[in-house]
């Protein structure tokens, strides 16, 4: 799995779409209202799913059965007992700003930081996108 992070509007999804030739149907945009489709090739706005977990009192998912792999732009998954996991997870680094006054936002900010760290440990590759330019940090 490749984890992609960075600030809002920096071109994280553009980077993933281009690198893996993602189709719109392969991208699942997470929301605060429902669990995402974990069988999607790409999960974006993972921080919104973290907010859902915070409200539900559940732990955000940070490891997945099996892994996708991509050779010459052609994607497939290696399988594994628990099905397959997403190829790319994209998450905004919302934890870099000022500590918010709102208690829920404060808790969300911290849970996002911990979730990103756990995802990064389980990721084969971690990329940070800055002003449209990707930098491999793992």
């Amino acid at each position: 799995m490749e984890l992609v992070t960075g600030g809002a509007f920096q071109g994280k999804l553009d980077y993933a779409v281009k690198k893996y030739a993602l189709l719109e149907s392969e991208i699942c945009e997470c929301t605060e209202d429902a669990d995402p489709d974990f069988s999607a090739v790409c999960l974006t706005h993972y921080e919104r799913y973290v907010m859902r977990c915070l409200r539900e009192g559940t732990a955000p998912k940070t490891s997945f059965g099996g892994t996708y792999c991509c050779v010459d732009g052609v994607c497939g998954y290696t399988g594994g007992e628990g099905g397959h996991g997403p190829l790319v997870i994209i998450m905004d680094d919302i934890f870099c700003g000022v500590v918010p006054a709102d208690p829920e936002l404060r808790a969300w900010r911290e849970l996002c930081g911990r979730t990103l760290t756990a995802l990064a440990q389980n990721a084969e590759e971690v990329t940070r996108v800055f002003c449209g330019i990707p930098k491999k940090i793992k």
Partner: protein, 181 residues
């Protein structure tokens, strides 16, 4: 050569940008594009502090709060080295004005285009922006509109500049090329 610098506030972006300009100028004219419009005493104090930090560095000040390309007419783009500090202030002036109640929805694209044209027209330029994209606060739609417009300007400059650096604690992290230091 063109350089794009961004990062958090008060992390040494301006100092590094000015040093890049001094290294690039090699005897040619040095221009400081002053973008800030003073609305109150806090602004005036800020401007004074920036002017003081430029003292003795021989910058020629070009007052250009909007319409960036206009300052090319009153300067020497073929030989000049320009510092634009900051893209953030330029965009604010393009987007909002005291005589319009809402934000100009075209400001982002217009400013990004002007920045790209400017970068292609001058010998050397260093652009300074602010990294305002990583907070947990849920901003109102006007703030998000501004963030999106600035991100477009930043990404345009990062694409067309020779060097791209993020400054943190006065230390540059390179995303493209090398700084001329």
């Amino acid at each position: 050569m063109t350089v794009f610098i961004s990062g958090g506030c008060k992390n040494g972006k301006s100092t590094i940008a000015e040093d890049c300009c001094l290294a690039l100028a090699k005897g040619g004219p040095l221009y400081y594009i002053a973008t800030m419009q003073a609305y109150d005493d806090e602004d005036r104090l800020r401007i004074k502090r920036h002017q003081k930090s430029r003292e003795g560095k021989n910058f020629i000040t070009l007052e250009q709060p909007t319409d960036l390309l206009e300052c090319l007419k009153s300067s020497d783009p073929e030989n000049g080295t320009y510092i634009l500090d900051s893209v953030t202030a330029l965009l604010i002036n393009e987007m909002y004005s005291p005589d319009r109640p809402d934000a100009d929805p075209q400001a982002g694209e217009r400013t990004a285009k002007a920045l790209e044209d400017f970068a292609k027209s001058v010998k050397n330029a260093v652009f300074v922006s602010d990294f305002i994209y990583s907070g947990a606060e849920k901003y109102n739609e006007y703030t998000v509109q501004y963030q999106k417009a600035l991100a477009l300007c930043d990404r345009t400059l990062a694409r067309c500049c020779d060097a791209v650096a993020e400054i943190s604690g006065g230390i540059p992290t390179m995303y493209k090329g090398e700084l001329p230091l």
